[in-house]
């Protein structure tokens, strides 16, 4: 947020009266209308606002679904597959918007994260902005996991069983902790009801975090494809330049989203979830939603005891959580001062290797952990951690960045001074 707030040009005296007493309008005007944004942002900068719209879509459809959904182990499945899908007016549409919305939301957020990785948006002074983003990712994962349990299909049930059982790997307190999480001795009605409560709550926590994320963003303003600090003359007001660009991007995104909702609504729903939960019948092949697959692969890649003290089961759980927690430290693990990969000839390659690595992990996670799939998962996991813990810290020391431009009006060729990120 800039320190000098501009007063909005009010026509209405009522608005001025309100704003003098509660300056929300001034705040909104400064953050969303005149907010100075870099004039060279490309389409990769659309994904943040798209993700924000998806959060609102999930909350709106979710609040209405709750009016028809019954959070009870005996009734939940029928209230979704029978009542919402068949009887409630437009119930099928609301559910498919919500169910596919989760997939779209994750797709957008993953692209948003890789955008940050490519352009070094996590570097000084945007470390906290990045960290808040990782917190949002964790909250989204918890929310989506608990939402997936609500229809109480057989994959819901077994996903809940396998994931909550991860905590039993913790030494000493593991077993009582899992009983506490379940509210019983297996995943059952008490588990479903608490997941329902939290699935309703967490999106609003995410909303608050998004607010802080934006506050941190506007402190220093957006990064940009060149990754250099821009002066005032290289910035343009958010409205109308980026509002219209975001709306255009949203229309394109709606084509993709609409395709899934109307033409392939069950593409992301496992067939097993059309069978009601059965505590006696484990599906032969438990797979999580696609957006968890890389992490699931890391979980199952650790099939060996580690240094005699960490048993395989605990090792897998630690590796899985570490794969996300390592992102918290990224601003300090990457030692290069140059933000954008455009000026980092070697990092650029490692970025794409990481993208491929995550895709390979996702593919391995979708398959049973044996033979080549297991080898792929193990190599993929090793490389994932190598990237963050070894390659990034060393690369910043040995790579020679290309010369950075000093401003947008000053073309790269003329600028020979290399400007550090700070």
């Amino acid at each position: 947020m800039s320190t000098e707030m501009q007063k909005p040009p009010f026509k209405s005296g009522v608005l001025r009266w309100i704003d003098e007493r509660l300056p929300v309008l001034t705040w909104a005007y400064n953050e969303l209308v005149v907010y100075p944004a870099p004039r060279n942002l490309n389409y990769w900068w659309n994904f943040g606002s798209l993700a924000g719209i998806m959060l609102v879509v999930q909350i709106m459809t979710g609040v209405i679904l709750v009016m028809f959904y019954t959070p009870h182990a005996d009734l939940a499945f029928d209230s979704v597959e029978g009542y919402i899908m068949r009887d409630v007016n437009w119930g099928w549409l609301l559910r498919y918007i919500h169910a596919n919305g989760a997939s779209m939301f994750f797709a957008l957020v993953y692209i948003h994260i890789f955008r940050g990785l490519y352009y070094g948006s996590y570097k000084k002074p945007r470390e906290l902005l990045w960290i808040l983003g990782v917190v949002i990712l964790l909250l989204m994962m918890a929310t989506a996991f608990m939402g997936y349990v609500l229809p109480w299909g057989n994959m819901s049930y077994w996903a809940a069983t396998v994931i909550t059982n991860l905590f039993s790997a913790i030494p000493l307190v593991g077993e009582p902790l899992v009983t506490w999480l379940w509210g019983g001795f297996t995943v059952d009605n008490p588990t479903l009801q608490r997941f329902f409560s939290l699935h309703y709550l967490l999106p609003f926590v995410i909303f608050a975090m998004v607010f802080l994320h934006l506050l941190a963003l506007h402190q220093f303003g957006s990064n940009n494809p060149l990754g250099i600090d821009l002066s005032k003359k290289d910035k343009i007001p958010f409205h109308p330049y980026y509002t219209v660009k975001d709306v255009f991007g949203f229309c394109v995104f709606l084509l993709v989203y609409g395709y899934f909702v109307f033409y392939a609504p069950t593409a992301f729903i496992s067939p097993t979830n059309f069978i009601p939960a059965d505590p006696l019948q484990t599906p032969t092949h438990i797979v999580p939603e696609w957006y968890f697959l890389p992490f699931y692969a890391i979980l199952r890649a650790i099939t060996f005891d580690f240094l005699w003290i960490v048993p395989a089961k605990l090792g897998g759980v630690i590796a899985m959580f570490a794969s996300i927690f390592v992102l918290f430290f990224l601003p300090w693990l990457d030692t290069s001062k140059v933000r954008s990969a455009r000026f980092r000839p070697i990092y650029k390659w490692f970025f794409w290797l990481l993208v491929i690595d995550v895709l390979v992990l996702g593919w391995a996670g979708a398959n049973p952990p044996e033979g080549w799939y297991l080898v792929a998962a193990q190599l993929g996991t090793l490389y994932y951690f190598l990237h963050f813990l070894v390659i990034l810290p060393m690369l910043g020391k040995i790579e020679r960045p290309l010369p950075l431009p000093t401003s947008l009006s000053d073309p790269v060729l003329r600028g020979t001074r290399s400007q550090p990120a700070s």
């Binding site: 069983t161 006696l280 484990t282 952990p369």
Partner: protein
């Protein structure tokens, strides 16, 4: 905390104020913790969940070599009437070959009847092998398809990621043909 700039009375009064402050903060702290505990403990199994404690099983109809599944506290329990050969296999394994070493005698009250909780000790799937025609794994016991754990005819882990043998529920034989689980 007491700030020296506002403490213009003599040391005795100052000490009394420090004492009151300490009492106030510690009461507040302990009180908060005490108030949080019911919130946390409310998530533990309720009286209703704990009440469904025991299950009675009629052993009469189970034939030699047959396995059945019963429910106890919402969990599947495997009841296996073992054949001579299965008992033989379970008893003859050298303990040092086992990941979770337990002799067969420690896992049964009557060698003919093996009663175990049918939940894989890895991540909680129900292993296959209790129904006719399902794979029983390399050691003729049970096989967990989720991540490939093999259990033997005493329900002991032999291969795969599971850390422990299948758990034993508390049970006793009420008569020759009745067993009470729980």
């Amino acid at each position: 905390m007491a700030d020296s700039s506002v403490r213009h009375d003599e040391p005795a009064g100052g000490r009394r104020r420090d004492f009151l402050e300490l009492v106030a903060w510690s009461t507040f702290g302990v009180g908060t913790l005490a108030a949080i505990w019911p919130l946390i403990d409310s998530l533990n199994p309720s009286a209703a969940v704990l009440a469904v404690a025991s299950t009675e099983v009629d052993l009469e109809p189970i034939e030699v070599g047959q396995r059945i599944t019963v429910m106890w506290r919402g969990k599947p329990v495997f009841v296996s009437r073992r054949t001579e050969e299965e008992i033989q296999m379970a008893q003859s394994v050298p303990l040092e070959e086992l990941r979770d070493p337990e002799p067969d005698e420690a896992r049964v009250q009557n060698p003919e009847w093996l009663i175990v909780i049918g939940i894989c000790t890895h991540l909680g799937c129900v292993p296959l092998g209790n129904r006719a025609g399902e794979p029983r794994g390399q050691w003729a016991g049970w096989f967990c398809p989720c991540h490939g754990s093999h259990y033997d005819t005493a329900g002991r882990i032999r291969k795969g990621p599971a850390p422990r043998n299948l758990d034993l529920p508390p049970y006793r034989f009420v008569s020759d043909t009745q067993v009470l689980i729980g």
